[in-house]
């Protein structure tokens, strides 16, 4: 019987629009969460696929030892594509010339993502995508090497014990990376030719890589199998998001932003449900009292209302899923068109997440109101004020807080982030509540002498002080989260813009002779070309730290018994294993900041400044004595400062910078970067004609791709912002609607007593205007606080104050809340009084 009653109530109430707020809240929370998570998941996998080009694969496993074939077979069995890539340094000879090169030996299938481009002659304009690899006895060689070795296509290059015919010019490798200065020019050969070179010996310094490509599930499944067998010291498993390139950083930040924005969206959606749930139960107080008077048992009432709620929830979740899917499909289509790319389908997870959000928030937020509802005394039929006990109110707060925390946790699956957000939110909520009450008390005194609509508004604020401070909590929360997402988005975009301005350098030059520096700089100036400083480069090795040699190249003897060496020399540091580009300078380069020690200024004492991450990895600190070897000369200098370097800046960056007196006598070449718009490319020839030895590296391809990715991310972020905005408006709407229902009776009575509609709607509007403005102000305060924490702790950006928002917050709050209030009220007073009285009956 009870299920019939339950269903009947639900059906009629749905039809009569009495459950609209609750249903809308659940529907929209499910919609928001679903479209947010579907969208971010699909977009992210799209972006990742797109950016995977920069790795030439989805994942790379690299190792200092050969990688077991069994691991490759396992991957292939799981449907993954694989390719081998082995990279090492070697000398290459062409006739009498020799140069240090990076040999890259790759197996069939490489690159798994992106493609190679080659040309038939160096420094030509023509370059084509090529879908094959160098054949037997062939090598493809980077343009820079043609210059260095005075090569021509068709010449022979000697590497180790093998001879290779140089058959093509390598113009673009997807995985070349952004470290233009730290790498030598590349020679690409086929993996099968590797052994013949005889260069791979036990103990040689070789990087073995296996590239993988496949679906996210395949990759994750494989990694799960692989992870237990990996050794942290020798193996490294990474995706495009790991690492230090500008792209990886952009992606990481975008991902964090989207996660955070979605989390805030989830919190907003849950808040909307919480507001609606409260109201849902309140409006049933009378019904329960009547049921009890008619002899309904507690058990029956429980069942009726739990079923009622569950049915409502499930129906709403269904509608929400449908709506979310439709919205997401539309947006994906639009975004895909913008990006010119397919976005891969998402898994089931977003659907589960969205349904869980709807169900969990509906059930948990209704738990306490429902308990109270069921405990309503039957005597309420005679005394409308009776609402039963309020003793378990703490239970409500605990349940609500726990629910929000659980949702954060479910959604982000990140313990720390959820806890930080939650704790921050809790503190903010308490503050908001306190400040809100204070404001209302203050405004009460201020409003006394005002005109009649104002007086009515003030009286209303005063009478509902308790309810209002809770209301303000949801208003402020919504406004705050909106401002937060908006401000954060602006910060992120501005940061990217700073990193990749239109005049970002798109050419690097290397190998400038010292005597040419001044002339080249003049030529840049004459043509109005923006260039970075010229940096001298001296190749050298770091050989010892505080008198202890670094383990740079594993020696033959040690190679046989490495484990032993390791235990004996626990103190011995791992070296770089290659020549470093050393430079000298008087001033700290731009985009570098000192984190320890002091920059030398004009102190002529020999000394060196080292990059932060190198210092960390090699356990170096201020005062350590480093020994360097430059062309057979060794010298020792103390570390006097440690620098943080922005590797995203497209300028020459260095691990080691010396003061001028230390290095200036060593032979050096100079490097720099400059910006020359594409349309002025023809000037290059004229510009560099007098300097035939200078090599030019074209960064446009990389820059172009980087820009594209950032554009895509910006679109994604804009969309997420819109969704969060909708969720925020929903909360405001739910709250306004709920409080409107609460004051319905009062309005009807005033109306019956002859209060003009204008007066009523004005006083309600003023009341909401004030509430909105105060909420907006508090929200701005809370937003600044949270943004400061997020910027410094999560996004690793500099903190900023957003003065604009101090105006925007209260203003937007007043306007939005005031307008919503006015609309809700207008609907109420437009009806004639008789209808209203009926409605209340």
């Amino acid at each position: 019987m009870w299920h019939k009653i339950s269903w009947r109530l639900l059906r009629h109430e749905l039809k009569r629009g009495e459950l609209t707020i609750m249903a809308a809240a659940i529907v929209l929370s499910v919609t928001a969460v679903l479209s947010l998570s579907l969208f971010t998941e699909r977009l992210q996998s799209g972006l990742l696929a797109r950016s995977a080009e920069f790795l030439a694969a989805d994942r790379v496993l690299s190792s200092r030892r050969p990688i077991s074939d069994e691991w490759l077979e396992q991957a292939q069995q799981r449907g993954l594509d694989t390719a081998n890539r082995v990279v090492f340094n070697s000398m290459a000879f062409a006739d009498d010339n020799l140069a240090l090169v990076d040999i890259k030996a790759v197996s069939d299938g490489y690159p798994l993502r992106g493609s190679l481009r080659t040309a038939s002659e160096p420094f030509g304009d023509e370059t084509t995508v090529i879908n094959q690899l160098p054949g037997e006895g062939e090598a493809w060689v980077a343009a820079a090497l043609f210059q260095e070795l005075d090569l021509e296509v068709g010449d022979t290059l000697e590497i180790g014990q093998s001879k290779f015919k140089v058959s093509r010019v390598l113009t673009y490798e997807p995985d070349v990376g952004f470290s233009v200065f730290t790498d030598s020019p590349n020679v690409l050969i086929h993996y099968d030719q590797l052994e013949q070179t005889g260069l791979i010996q036990p103990g040689s310094r070789v990087r073995y890589n296996v590239l993988f490509a496949g679906t996210a599930e395949q990759l994750d499944g494989y990694y799960e199998w692989l992870a237990p067998q990996l050794n942290d010291d020798t193996h490294n498993w990474r995706s495009i998001e790991d690492g230090d390139s500008p792209l990886a950083r952009s992606l990481q930040r975008a991902e964090r932003f989207m996660l955070l924005a979605s989390l805030l969206g989830v919190v907003l959606a849950a808040t909307a449900v919480a507001v609606a749930a409260q109201r849902y139960c309140q409006r049933n107080y009378d019904v329960v009292a009547i049921f009890k008077t008619l002899g309904a048992e507690r058990r029956q009432i429980q069942r009726i209302f739990i079923l009622h709620l569950l049915l409502l929830t499930f129906i709403s979740i269904g509608v929400g899923l449908l709506l979310g899917w439709v919205i997401q499909a539309q947006v994906i289509e639009f975004v895909a068109a913008q990006l010119g790319a397919e976005l891969p389908a998402a898994g089931l997870k977003p659907y589960v997440l969205a349904s869980a959000t709807g169900l969990v928030s509906a059930v948990m937020f209704t738990l306490y109101p429902l308990l109270r509802l069921i405990a309503i005394p039957p005597l309420r039929v005679l005394n409308r004020e009776l609402t039963g006990t309020d003793k378990l109110r703490w239970l409500h707060w605990i349940a609500s807080a726990g629910t929000i925390y659980a949702l954060l946790l479910i959604y982000s699956q990140q313990w720390l982030l959820s806890t930080a957000l939650f704790a921050g939110g809790a503190v903010a909520a308490v503050l908001l509540l306190a400040v809100g009450r204070l404001f209302i008390r203050a405004s009460r005194q201020a409003g006394m002498q005002a005109g009649s609509a104002w007086r009515l508004a003030m009286a209303g604020l005063q009478r509902r002080a308790q309810a209002n401070s809770v209301q303000m909590l949801s208003f402020s929360t919504a406004i705050m989260l909106l401002l937060l997402v908006l401000a954060l988005r602006n910060e992120l975009l501005a940061d990217w813009e700073r990193q990749l301005p239109d005049d970002a350098p798109n050419y690097f030059i290397v190998n400038v002779a010292p005597g040419d520096v001044a002339q080249l700089e003049q030529r840049f100036a004459a043509r109005d070309i923006e260039s970075n400083d010229m940096y001298p480069v001296v190749p050298g090795r770091m050989t010892a730290v505080n008198g202890v040699p670094v383990r740079d190249e594993v020696t033959k003897e040690a190679g046989g018994d490495e484990a032993d060496t390791q235990t004996n020399n626990a103190e011995q540091r791992e070296g770089f294993g290659r020549e470093l580009s050393l430079t000298w300078r008087d001033d700290l380069p731009p985009n570098n900041t000192i984190v320890a020690g002091e920059w030398w200024g004009d102190n002529p004492q020999p000394q060196v400044s080292i990059e932060e991450e190198v210092a960390e990895r090699m356990r170096l600190s201020i005062g350590d004595e480093l020994e360097f070897n430059i062309g057979g000369n060794t010298f020792t200098v103390p570390v006097t400062s440690i620098r943080k370097v922005n590797w995203g800046s497209l300028q020459p960056n260095f691990f080691m910078i010396f003061n001028t007196s230390t290095l200036e006598d060593f032979p050096a070449t100079f490097i720099s970067s400059f910006n020359l718009p594409k349309e002025r490319q023809s000037e290059l020839y004229e510009l560099f004609k007098p300097f035939p030895e200078v090599s030019l590296i074209d960064l446009d391809a990389i820059m172009e791709q980087l820009r594209e990715v950032i554009d895509q991310v910006s679109i994604a972020i804009a969309f997420v912002l819109v969704l969060v905005l909708i969720a925020g408006i929903l909360v405001l709407l739910a709250q306004v609607q709920a409080s409107m229902e609460e004051r319905q009776q009062e309005l009807v009575i005033l109306r019956t007593l002859g209060a003009p509609a204008k007066l009523l709607s004005r006083s309600v509007t003023y009341e909401f205007l004030i509430l909105g403005a105060i909420s907006g102000l508090i929200a701005t305060l809370a937003m600044e606080l949270s943004l400061w924490i997020l910027q410094t702790q999560v996004f690793e950006m500099a903190a900023t104050i957003h003065w604009r928002f101090w105006l925007v917050g209260p203003l937007a709050g007043a306007i939005v809340v005031g307008t919503l209030g006015r609309l809700a009220c207008a609907r109420l007073v437009r009806r004639n009084t008789a209808q209203l009285i009926r409605k209340l009956a």
Partner: protein
């Protein structure tokens, strides 16, 4: 004895001190009797009914229905007593706004698990003249019509006792008389005990007993005096 009170009193604490709404009342009503309670507004009539029906607890003394002391029962058990034995017509109707007239009337029978609730409800609504308005919601009905729905609801399941708080207060004379007739008919046919509050002397006169409430004090007046 069907209804029996001994020294039943009700006090509430207000800002201005303790308010005695009901002075100690001793009252017994036998099965099948018809009883009218009259008295000025605010004298405590509705309060007495709510105590008799177990909607509220007394501050002192006892109420027993069918020799069961309501004070010994918990709220659940009192609900059960109401479901089994008591019908109620409230001063303010108390219909459920989101259920139709028919569904409102069916509700108590359904809650008590009766099989033919709908059939009974239709008949009762037709009896009170609302056979055409079964599908209407309370706010689509006039005050008097709502009251008739409430009356039909009180009749369903033929309760042993019917408490009515001004059952005809909102009705015109003709409908009022019809409803009165219904009440007394039920009393005759099913032996339902009627306890009703009324300001209408005519109605009071039709009852076997008249009780007068005066500032919380209940006195029996002989029928012909009222």
């Amino acid at each position: 004895m069907l209804i029996q009170t001994t020294q039943l009193e009700k006090k509430v604490t207000t800002q201005d001190g303790i308010l005695h709404i009901l002075q100690p009342i001793d009252l017994s009503i036998e099965a099948g009797q018809t009883v009218a309670i009259v008295g000025a507004s605010g004298s405590g009539k509705s309060t007495l009914l709510s105590l008799l029906a177990g909607l509220d607890l007394a501050s002192g003394g006892d109420v027993s229905i069918d020799n069961v002391n309501l004070g010994d029962l918990d709220e659940e058990q009192r609900a059960k007593v109401r479901a089994d034995k008591i019908g109620f017509i409230f001063q303010s109707f108390l219909l459920i706004p989101s259920l139709t007239a028919l569904e409102n009337v069916m509700l108590p029978a359904e809650l008590a698990g009766h099989k033919n609730a709908e059939q009974q409800a239709r008949e009762l609504l037709t009896k009170v003249g609302l056979g055409e308005r079964l599908k209407h919601y309370p706010n689509q009905l006039s005050g008097g019509e709502q009251q008739r729905v409430a009356i039909a609801r009180a009749f369903i399941g033929t309760p042993k006792i019917l408490f009515a708080d001004e059952p005809t207060g909102n009705l015109d004379a003709t409908t009022g008389h019809k409803v009165e007739d219904l009440l007394f008919e039920m009393n005759k046919e099913s032996g339902t005990t009627l306890v009703m509050v009324t300001h209408d002397p005519e109605l009071a006169k039709r009852c076997q007993r008249i009780l007068k409430m005066d500032a919380g004090r209940l006195t029996e007046v002989s029928n012909d005096v009222a």
